[in-house]
Amino acid sequence: MSEINVKPEASGRAAKLAKDLVSGNALIPVLAVLASFVVGGILIALSNENVQAAAGYFFARPGDLFNAVWQSVFGAYEALFRGSIYNYQADNFGDGILSLTQTLAYATPITIAGLGLAVAFRSGLFNIGGTGQIIFGAVASAVVALYLPIWPGPLHFLVAILAGVLGGALFGGFVGFLKATTGANEVIVTIMFNYVAVFMLHYSLTTWLKAPLALNPQSSPLPQDTLYPLLAGTKYPLHAGFIVMLLAVAGVWWLMNRSSVGFHFKALGHNPSASRVAGINIGRTYFLVMAVSGALAGLAGTSQILGTEKYLGTGVAATYGFDAITVALLGRSNPIGVLAAGLLFGGLRAGAVTMQANQNVPIDIVYVVQSMIVLFIAAPPLVRSIFFMPKSKEAKA
């Protein structure tokens, strides 16, 4: 492939994405989150039965309505806090901090996959295939964990992780290869590959990968020695995948800011024509970007099955593939930003359960908040006008 003379596509779209990600106002993501919580609050109030009842006799006793609104919104967000950071109603510190470890456990796959997509976005490639790459990584990892039990424990564990990384890298890299050789649009290919991955997973789990006695499409439990070690005892869901996530954050930072490979990635993202003229092999770089991106998604898959679920099921990728896109955008595709966004999403995930259990707030509200974040980020002008911020330079010109 090294000699293929790839013509980059018009640089406009990809370069604009890369530029927007890097040069945008850092306040926008914060405000987008804030605005989404406000919208979420409104929905919580509207869907609350007490509020609806109080609205019925608003003109008789208006105070009741305001009280009900306050109760419902404050109660919901208070529950969200208890479920995601610290449950101060618990008997002891050990029980209270359980919430935070749940947040960290949820945040792990989202953040790692988000890092993968961030690498692609910074390089001007819209990798929408997080879901598929997570699934492929998870399947490769599970197969190694289940069917190659010949090695001693630690080695088996490492090989299982490596298999997941490779699985994701191959699945992602193949898209890069297609783009380099045929000019295929990576957006369409990755979206379609998500379907391929989802249905192949389902097929595998109902046939050759299916646990012999299971009723549901799922694999046998993965061997104990292939699982991520728990970090804080069996009471807490926090596992070593969290450490891997932190290493991945540092690794991606180094890759994109300190390595020659990342320099080429960014050059391609910002200006493919100039990269080509500067002798950078565009085709190979497309392949590498997608392989690295997919590898991280695959790693996220391993943390899901070898850390949290401990078996391979159809829900392995859940919504992580798409959450990762949001996380990468919210974090401006900057590793530290992605970490922050990943923790936020992990917290939303963990807190939503408590919110539903305690306050009877539907868990979907959290999805609405997440979607609103995407909407607000995708529409910076909207965020700007809501918060009376000055126009961007480009909008003025």
Partner: protein, 498 residues
């Protein structure tokens, strides 16, 4: 109609684009507004055209103060503008374009195309434009499209015509024809403002010259003044336009192109049996109107053009069939014609751009770790050696002026170990000061004993830089001649007449 601008001041934030600018243009006069890029010429004309509102000053037409809220007011008052970038709809006919905005109608609002055609013919005949009202504008050559723009201005009875850098897109022949048209308009009593930075044209047609520098009028000049004097006024210091180029001392023919042919995607021949050789210590200029195969030629040398036949040899080694990286490794320095698209990554810093083609080589990288300390040192040195005017090497390349961007590209290319320098329109869009610097660097490269290939679309540059000139037309080399060849002959060759 007499046009007078008095004390026009226009600010953009803290930037003063025009400061107390005054200008008087009499009917039947060609008044040149001369100045470098960014001197405030276009801003001034946009104030006149009602696109900008001035903070201070007034506009007088026939000694009466007028105020324009927009271009519509200006047009109604008899001011017409021929823009640098044509405001034409390519799929419309000439007549349709000309009447756009003030369409003649018959009873019941029916478009009166017959009247439109007649009007176009009338004006076309009056000035010898030779326009077919029913031709589709997109099919016409650039020079003819420009005449459509002029007709558009004349049809609304413009008494003052502003030409904004009108020759930038024209061939030498078309430029001559435009000059003739401008003279004809002058005879008819039109007041003409001619914005340009090309001294040759100024000297040819101007009756009066006003020189702008950094938003201020630095003085009036006469077309009889020497080009060097005019350039000095424009730049604000002594300028040597002819350059101090000594005669070339050519060595062996080290760069040989033989029988080079290439087709584009639709199968049209874009390079047709191109052959030439360049000696060590010699500059060969490929002259021609843009789009006659020059881009494809430089791309073929660099390994960017895939479907090529023939041979390109540098010091006996074949370049064709190699990857871009391997061509660069053989010592080919390349200055692309579009520096913002192909030469630089606008969002990267100056320092990052300086290692764009070498980020994976020692000493820029060790293992996979970029050596940022080395890069900073090198960038600091190159920025001072190549006189890049910037506050910091961390400034984004996109924020630099065109001249400084080109210096960054040159610094990157010339700081490598070179065996050949290829530069495509190296001074396109640059101001006089930067042109001087770029030309110096190119001649210096030649004098160090390298073969140099320059692609030029302007005769001035071709004659000034070239030791020999190869004229290209429709993918073919029409002829290779010494740079002392008369311009008229070169111009004819560029039009395909050999």
């Amino acid at each position: 109609m007499k046009l007078e601008l008095r004390g026009i001041t226009k600010r953009f934030g803290s930037l003063v684009a025009n400061s107390d600018v005054s200008l008087t243009v009499m009917p039947g006069e060609i008044h040149c507004l001369l100045g470098e890029n960014g001197a405030g010429k276009s801003t001034l004309m946009n104030v006149l055209y009602g696109l900008y509102q001035a903070e201070a000053g007034e506009i007088l037409l026939d000694d009466k103060v007028v105020k324009f809220a927009g271009p519509g007011d200006a047009m109604a008052a008899g001011i017409g503008m021929v823009h640098q970038h044509f405001m034409l709809i390519p799929v419309f006919t000439v007549a349709e374009n000309v009447i756009l905005g003030h369409e003649p109608t018959k009873f019941g609002g029916v478009l009166d195309m017959a009247a439109a055609r007649a009007k176009v013919r009338e004006i076309s005949d009056q000035f010898g434009f030779d326009l077919d009202p029913d031709a589709i504008v997109g099919d016409l050559p650039v020079g003819v499209q420009q005449r459509v723009e002029i007709v558009k201005a004349l049809i609304s009875n413009a008494k003052v015509l502003v030409f904004d850098e009108p020759t930038a897109v024209l061939t030498p022949q078309e430029t001559d024809e435009l000059m003739t048209i401008m003279r004809a308009l002058r005879e008819r009593g039109t007041a003409i403002v001619f914005i340009t930075h090309k001294l040759r044209e100024v000297k040819e047609v101007a009756d009066k010259i006003t020189v702008l520098r950094l938003g201020k009028v630095v003085g009036e000049a006469s077309p009889k003044d020497s080009a060097n004097d005019l350039a000095s006024m424009m730049v604000g210091r002594a300028v040597d336009l002819e350059g101090s180029k000594t005669a070339a001392k050519p060595g062996k023919a080290s760069f040989v192109v033989a029988g080079l042919s290439a087709e584009n995607r639709s199968g049209t021949k874009v390079l047709d049996d191109v052959s030439f050789e360049i000696h060590d210590g010699e500059i060969l200029v490929i002259a021609g109107v843009q789009g006659n195969g020059q881009t494809e030629l430089t791309e073929a040398i660099l390994g960017l053009q895939s479907s090529t036949a023939g041979s390109i040899q540098l010091n006996g080694q074949e370049l064709l069939g190699r990857s871009v990286k391997s061509v660069l490794d053989m010592g080919v320095g390349f200055v692309p014609e579009d520096r913002t698209e192909d030469g630089l990554v606008a969002d990267f810093t100056i320092a990052e751009n300086l290692m764009l083609d070498r980020a994976d080589r020692k000493p820029f990288v060790s293992g996979l770790n970029l050596q940022l300390k080395y890069l900073r040192e090198l960038a600091t040195k190159l920025v001072s050696d190549f006189d890049v005017r910037t506050q910091s090497i961390e400034t984004k390349a996109g924020k630099l002026s065109g001249g400084n961007q080109q210096k960054v590209v040159l610094a990157r290319e010339l700081s490598r170990e070179l065996k050949l320098l290829v530069a495509s329109q190296p001074t396109r869009g640059l101001d006089v000061g930067s042109i001087e610097f770029v030309h110096e660097q190119i001649v210096k490269t030649r004098d160090s004993g390298l073969p140099v290939l320059i692609v030029a679309t302007e005769l001035d540059e071709a004659v000034q830089l070239g030791d020999r000139i190869a004229v290209m037309y429709r993918g073919k080399i029409v002829g290779i001649v010494p740079s002392s060849t008369p311009r008229a002959v070169l111009g004819q060759m560029m039009a395909g007449i050999s």
